[in-house]
Subunit: 919 residues, 2 copies
């Protein structure tokens, strides 16, 4: 074995030497084992190799530090003593498990080796001791299989094949039904297969096994599954994993043995009731893999009442100790209970909220702890869709084709896919996909991420699919055995129906029901969720950041208020423009704007509203007519939204989008013209189409993102912004007259120079003043700008002189700071950048603190220098992302604005940001 420099720090901790605070050094699993040991819980003896040793291993170019081997040997000695067993001995042999464990839980992502320390002769010794040759051989078989996979990187399918072959020959269905003779054959075949695949044998020296296994667990930190998981969950790549080495205890020694998983509260509903599963005469891997369907935990009390009683008592102690619901792994070896692991339980979003609020009610934790305990995303997941139709309705009843266990709630409808790769492709092509698999494995993570829902025909509530989807807040059904899933033939059979890939199905991750065909799903409203309302009320008392919503319609605005929004941070007028009924008027306005403005420059005395002026050309007249139509539409829109918002601030962004977004597609026009010509249409018709095409072509842009949009439109075609301001002030004045409070804020988009803002402010507040005089009333409006170009952020101090408020458009700011077009980057290189760790996170999801964040911080600082009390917020999609919300809090913004359904998430995230800052 090649080793590196000598060990300097303490690289190994006995369970007696650590505690729960040491997760960074010992990993979650290791530090919890130490903690449980300190609490006097029945933990098998063992020790932890620190994460620092792992990082040193990488630093040395994947070599163990000098001296570490000796320390490990000494530590094993202490375990031997505690167990009264000897590692590598044929008589009373000590077997150990070697487990990974990082600071953050990454279920199933890294590698674990069981039964290590075994070989042919030790297996014989173990058999003598146990009086059970089959179990000893099975332990050896399992060890070879796991070791070859994890340490020697042998494709695991080969072992499954050998096992299946022998089960077939023996005429049995389950692994544990194999006879010792068959198992000996299996072992022989495993060894040949390993030699054939790698040219090497599994070491027979237990010490070699131990050191190689330790290295393999270290290396598992950098395997692609682990990297993908960390990227997907925003976990730091530089933490490393600890290695826990612990004496093996056996749950498969007969009827008074077993293994299981227990939750102190129901992880799906949050109900305060022990919940879990138990497999008699089995090892832990059997539960997690979901190959055999386990029994409910309640069954344990009947089989082994004493162990069950002890387990319940210990579970309650652990929950109190950790101040949170626990997920506990245990094994009973010949009636003796061992706790192998405890951790805070993964849970569904409703469970997360209920548990936190219940723990406060029970007096176990404080409100602040509750606020910090719930992931803000979980509150968002409470908004997951439900089927619109009553589940008891005939429509839904008749569509039901199968029932499994609801593992992660939410209703979903999509096209059926059986293959992960094909599912990902279909999702990328824009389809809603439901992935149906016999079971899922860590390799399937891409497919799970791409699907809107997951169904597995096997596995229980703690199987891979169940755990992963709960983490993602994605609907999942497991153990749906009524479905015979055949991925090879891309179909499944439900009763007498054969259902093929691509067929639409629906699923309910709460009830576990699977339906054939499309069922409409709707989102619930918050008022039905009592615990969530309690939690969010506490959040509102705690947070400093305001939470506003982006809303373009009265419906969205109402929804936003219902979910707790305190204002509208972004009302996009172009979304109103795109309504197909309005589009014709909008198009006539935009297509004639250039001519109209030219004419206006030479006729300064003609008001925009003044039609039929002497000598007005027809296209100019058409412009003014369309402008009047759009003015009326916008006035109505703003009236409705401002009325709904009833005095809350409403930031209305003036027209931003590039003009051609409102025009027919260039290629469609080309095709239409080709058809007219092919059909020898009348010349006049062709000519008209040609002229329209020319106009559309004149508005096309090579890079519309950086083109003629935002305030550049406002400055070159002033009549449009004037019209919009007229609509805002007219609507506001009318509402005020009717006793409705209004606070409109007029926002200029895409400002990059002070002068743009100075001119628009002068021109547009002029319009507003004139209208107020005409109405003989006063509208309490603000006039401000978006900061969304890097230059705008750099000179924000100057722009602040002309702006009552700033709203940071971090989508565009991110695009321009990086030079990433969001439309293009995602599919072409951005995913690769995130997956390969070139970027720590997708900067369109979580704000980039070093670049975009630096610009934002600079703009806040300089803007406040000019105008200390300036209102500042963020209205990009980052406004609903918890990490970005924390950044916004730190940098001193007044509010975040996000989509209405993200409002509850933002409320909680803002509270957490305030609590974290005061820690």
């Amino acid at each position: 074995m090649v080793t590196g420099r000598p060990v300097l720090k303490k690289p190994v901790y006995q369970f007696s030497e650590g505690d729960a605070s040491m997760t960074a050094l010992l990993g979650g699993k290791g530090s919890n084992l130490c903690e449980m040991f300190r609490l006097g819980l029945p933990v098998p003896p063992g020790f932890v190799i620190s994460t620092e040793s792992c990082l040193e291993y990488f630093d040395l170019g994947n070599r163990l530090p000098d001296g570490l081997e000796g320390i490990i040997r000494g530590s094993v000695g202490q375990v031997e003593e505690a167990m009264g067993r000897k590692f590598g001995s044929v008589e009373r042999p000590l077997l150990v498990s070697v487990r990974s464990g990082a600071r953050v839980s990454m279920p199933g992502m890294m590698d674990t080796i069981l039964n290590l320390g075994i070989n042919d002769s030790i297996a014989q010794g173990l058999a003598l001791e146990m009086g059970d040759l089959r179990t000893a051989l099975d332990a050896h078989r399992r060890f070879l299989q796991i070791y070859a996979d994890v340490v020697m990187e042998v494709e695991p399918g080969v072992f499954e094949k050998i096992l299946s072959h022998h089960k077939e020959s023996a005429g049995v269905a389950q692994d544990h039904e194999l006879t010792p003779e068959s198992l000996n054959d299996v072992i022989t075949d495993f060894k040949s297969a390993i030699r054939q695949a790698t040219g090497n044998d599994v070491p027979t020296d237990p010490w070699d096994q131990l050191l190689h296994a330790t290295e393999a667990v270290f290396r598992s930190w950098t395997n692609p599954r682990a990297i993908f998981y960390r990227n997907h969950n925003g976990i730091d790549h530089n933490m490393g994993t600890a290695v826990t080495i612990m004496a093996m205890v056996f749950g498969n020694l007969g009827p008074t043995s077993g293994t299981g998983v227990l939750f102190t509260r129901n992880p799906a509903t949050g109900e305060r009731k022990i919940y879990g599963e138990f497999l008699p005469n089995a090892q832990g891997e059997d539960v997690v893999a979901g190959v055999r369907t386990p029994q409910p935990i309640s069954a344990l009390a009947e089989v082994m009442p004493e162990a069950s009683g002890q387990l319940m008592e210990l579970a309650a102690r652990l929950e109190t100790h950790y101040r949170d619901a626990q997920d506990i792994e245990f094994t009973i070896e010949n009636g003796r209970l061992f706790i192998l692991q405890t951790r805070n339980a993964k849970r569904t979003p409703p469970a997360a909220v209920k548990i936190a609020v219940d723990l406060v009610a029970e007096g176990s934790i404080t409100r602040e702890e509750a606020l910090l305990q719930v992931n803000p995303e979980d509150v968002g997941q409470l908004m997951v869709p439900q089927f619109k139709a009553d589940v008891e309705s005939d429509q839904i009843r008749s569509a039901l084709i199968a029932r499994g266990s609801g593992a992660s709630p939410g209703a979903a409808t999509g096209k059926l896919y059986f293959d992960t790769t094909r599912a990902v492709e279909a999702a990328e092509a824009g389809q809603a996909v439901i992935l149906v698999r016999p079971e899922t494995k860590p390799d399937d993570i891409h497919g799970i991420a791409a699907a809107v829902g997951i169904v597995t025909s096997r596995g229980g509530a703690t199987s891979h699919a169940a755990v992963v989807t709960r983490g993602m807040g994605k609907p999942c059904i497991v153990g749906c055995e009524a479905l015979q899933v055949d991925p090879e033939r891309q179909l499944m059979v439900a009763g007498d129906q054969t259902i093929k890939e691509g067929v639409e199905i629906s699923m309910d991750g709460a009830s576990g029901n699977v339906y054939l065909g499309y069922l409409e799903a709707v989102r619930p409203t918050l008022d039905k969720l009592a615990e969530a309302n309690d939690l969010l009320a506490w959040a509102d008392q705690t947070r400093r950041l305001g939470v506003w919503a982006n809303a373009d319609t009265p419906t969205d605005a109402g929804q936003a208020i219902a979910l707790g929004a305190e204002g509208i941070g972004l009302c996009r007028t172009e979304h109103m423009f795109l309504d197909p009924i309005r589009l014709p008027a909008v198009r006539r306005m935009l297509l004639n704007a250039e001519s109209a403005e030219q004419w206006r420059r030479t006729h300064p005395d003609v008001e925009p509203g003044q039609l039929n002026a002497t000598g007005m050309p027809s296209d100019v007249e058409e412009f003014f007519q369309a402008l009047a139509e759009v003015r009326q539409l916008q006035t109505d829109d703003f009236t409705q939204i401002l009325r709904v918002m009833a005095g809350r601030p409403v930031i209305i962004r003036l027209l931003d989008a590039p003009l051609h977004e409102f025009l027919p597609q260039h290629e469609a026009l080309l095709a239409e013209l080709a058809e007219l010509r092919a059909n020898s249409a009348p010349i006049a018709e062709i000519r008209e189409k040609e002229e329209f095409l020319q106009l559309v072509e004149s508005l096309r842009e090579a890079n519309p993102m950086l083109g003629h949009r935002g305030c550049r439109l406002g400055l070159t075609y002033p009549a449009i912004y004037e019209m919009q301001v007229e609509a805002i002030i007219t609507a506001s004045g009318e509402l005020i007259r009717n006793g409705v409070q209004v606070h409109p804020e007029i926002m200029v988009p895409l400002t990059s120079t002070e002068e743009e803002m100075r001119r628009l402010r002068q021109a547009l507040t002029g319009v507003a003043e004139r209208l107020q005089q005409e109405m003989n009333g006063s509208v309490p409006y603000k006039f401000g700008t978006m900061i969304e170009t890097p230059r705008g952020a750099l000179i924000a101090g100057e722009i602040a002189g002309e702006s009552d408020f700033f709203s940071f458009g971090t989508n565009d700011l991110t695009q321009m700071a990086f030079g990433f077009s969001r439309d293009d980057a995602e599919g072409k290189f951005l995913r690769c950048y995130v997956e390969e760790g070139i970027l720590p996170a997708d900067p369109f999801i979580t704000i980039d603190p070093d670049g975009v964040g630096a610009l934002l911080a600079m703009a806040v600082k300089n803007g406040r220098k000019t105008r200390p009390e300036m209102e500042m917020g963020i209205c990009g999609e980052h406004g609903g992302d918890p990490a970005s919300i924390e950044f916004c809090h730190q940098v001193g913004l007044n509010y975040v604005s996000c989509s209405p359904y993200r409002v509850p998430v933002a409320r909680l995230a803002a509270a957490q940001a305030a609590l974290k800052q005061s820690l």
Copy 2:
């Protein structure tokens, strides 16, 4: 008259109270009149109203400050005293001129009023005094005409029509041939026309005339012509104009009177010889307008020898005093010489260089003064094209259709336009345009700016067209009377040929020759220009900034060296890719890159060069074959360029451009496919085209500027950058083996994160190290990056840790900082932004100091913190712009890199930056 707040500062200066240093306060014209007065020159008495008064006038909302009127009346009193005349008196009346004059000369851009102080009875008094009724009436007629135009904004065409009508009735050709009777009729008609146009009369009270005229001159600072001129010449809009009020002297009192313009050196060639024009019995406006063709200045000695001798003596004194060639306006009134104005002479670029170098040789100025005296653009203008064929060749002789006066040198070929607006349109459509006009006026400035050359049939060397084009360094021919130009019918007649709009003509602004048809023009080389070489040698001794060139071919590289470049700051490999002969291989490489890289990831052991590996799919094989072809082509390219540069640094930028730039146009493919289908082509052919179309579509981007380009390509398709580095190192190694020095610098484009650079540096220097080992030699290369995204600039301190050098790509940095797509902005809003003063200058021409410049300064500072001796330069087009070069000097860059023909400009600009900093 409405007046504003009281005057606080000294608002008016008598000529005796000012001097040449006071240009900011008194304008160029006014301060020079003061200076000449102090020197004892015969200047008519007068005074100057300061630019501060003008700015105060604007501040007060276009109202004269309180008290100013009294001060003006007092000042007129002093002039009355000096002249022994009385303003407003019928007996010995004082007439004055009212002239604008800003700090910077803006010829013809602002307004001047002559003969002010006249009315019907004063004209009669003047006639009695002069003994010449005609001249007195003509003075009144001229006054009415100018006053109505400038102060009352009457369309001037109406007066030309009245004059023409009366000349026709009287049967005379020239204005001065009109009899007093006719002139009285003209005056009556003028008055009616003014009343009809404005409802008002020209004031008869001379004091009203004077105050209104003063205000009108103030206001002329903001007329559209003046704003356009300032924008076009980069002049500050906030300086205001002074108003010079000076006693009128009359050059039209008979044969011993006259007026003229004189240059102390030939402004076209720089030759040390008095040059100028003289019109006997005329007022100054007649010379400038170019309506009558004047006599050469030498004729003056014959007509008025005494005045001529005095003039020559004074001219020499003025040149010595001002340490530069002078442009002097004079009037002789009844044999008595008056100097009306002197200023540094506008000159052609060769003249500018020759005059500066000659003045040094004559011991009149220092080398530093000479360096500061020449506009760097002038050195660039020395590179103006010349016709390739010998001017004496038959080809050129037979094409000659007319000969005028060469007013601004350079050869040009383009399509003929007579109308300014149509010329601008044609130029915008991408045509080279030659504008031919009877004469040009300030209104024509847009057309002059858009054309490649200007020809006028009238006017002399100091006419509007001549002065403006010399300033722009654009070929110009004036007084080309052989052409009968008819703008209304859009044609011209030359001898017996009628030539219509759109016909190609050629012109030589040096010889004054106009040719029919296309003549090939080429640029001269610097080695033929002795004075320029002297000046640039001094510049090289003075400047601190290096001057490098952007060059993609060996020819460009050689040209760059000949013009003084010290290295190549940007060698764009994609320009090599676009060669039509190479394009097929490049396309095969790019279209198969995605498949090849996917295959490579699963076959890490296969080297890119290793073809026909087991199981290699055909598209992957095609990729590697194409890659090998391109590698060979690039190796040859780099060998040639590095050989030419002979040890000078050569920065080679790895592939940057978006992939689709190398692929066939999407629309062309669509059309081809439609045709195949329409012609029922074989299915296989259609299928192939469809697949190709799909591939091209998959590479299309919504915003290619922000898309899959630059180092993003290098990270997603690593084989391409590896191939390019192989080509660079192989070429370098081969040259070193042959005794040629090389200094290649490998540049990664579009970096926005440290991690991109870290990975590419590791991978690509790995390739370079491997090749050097294989070659058993060492290549002295650098590895660095462009800083061209805002984020790259913001985190430059970190990127510097992975980069040997920075090259600032200020084109892209400007696009992303402002959010301006250069392709789209220009035509849609950027010109409007510059013309309307929203931006002080086009940020793609002159670096924006507040935004882009701030990013650059930040990056330089932070980069140098990390790597103090880091080589930093700029390779955007700003590298050839003098104002930007000065910024680069100030911010501490090591070099600028520009197109080869801008290298001389940059050398001089860099010297000026160094001199200005040390002032």
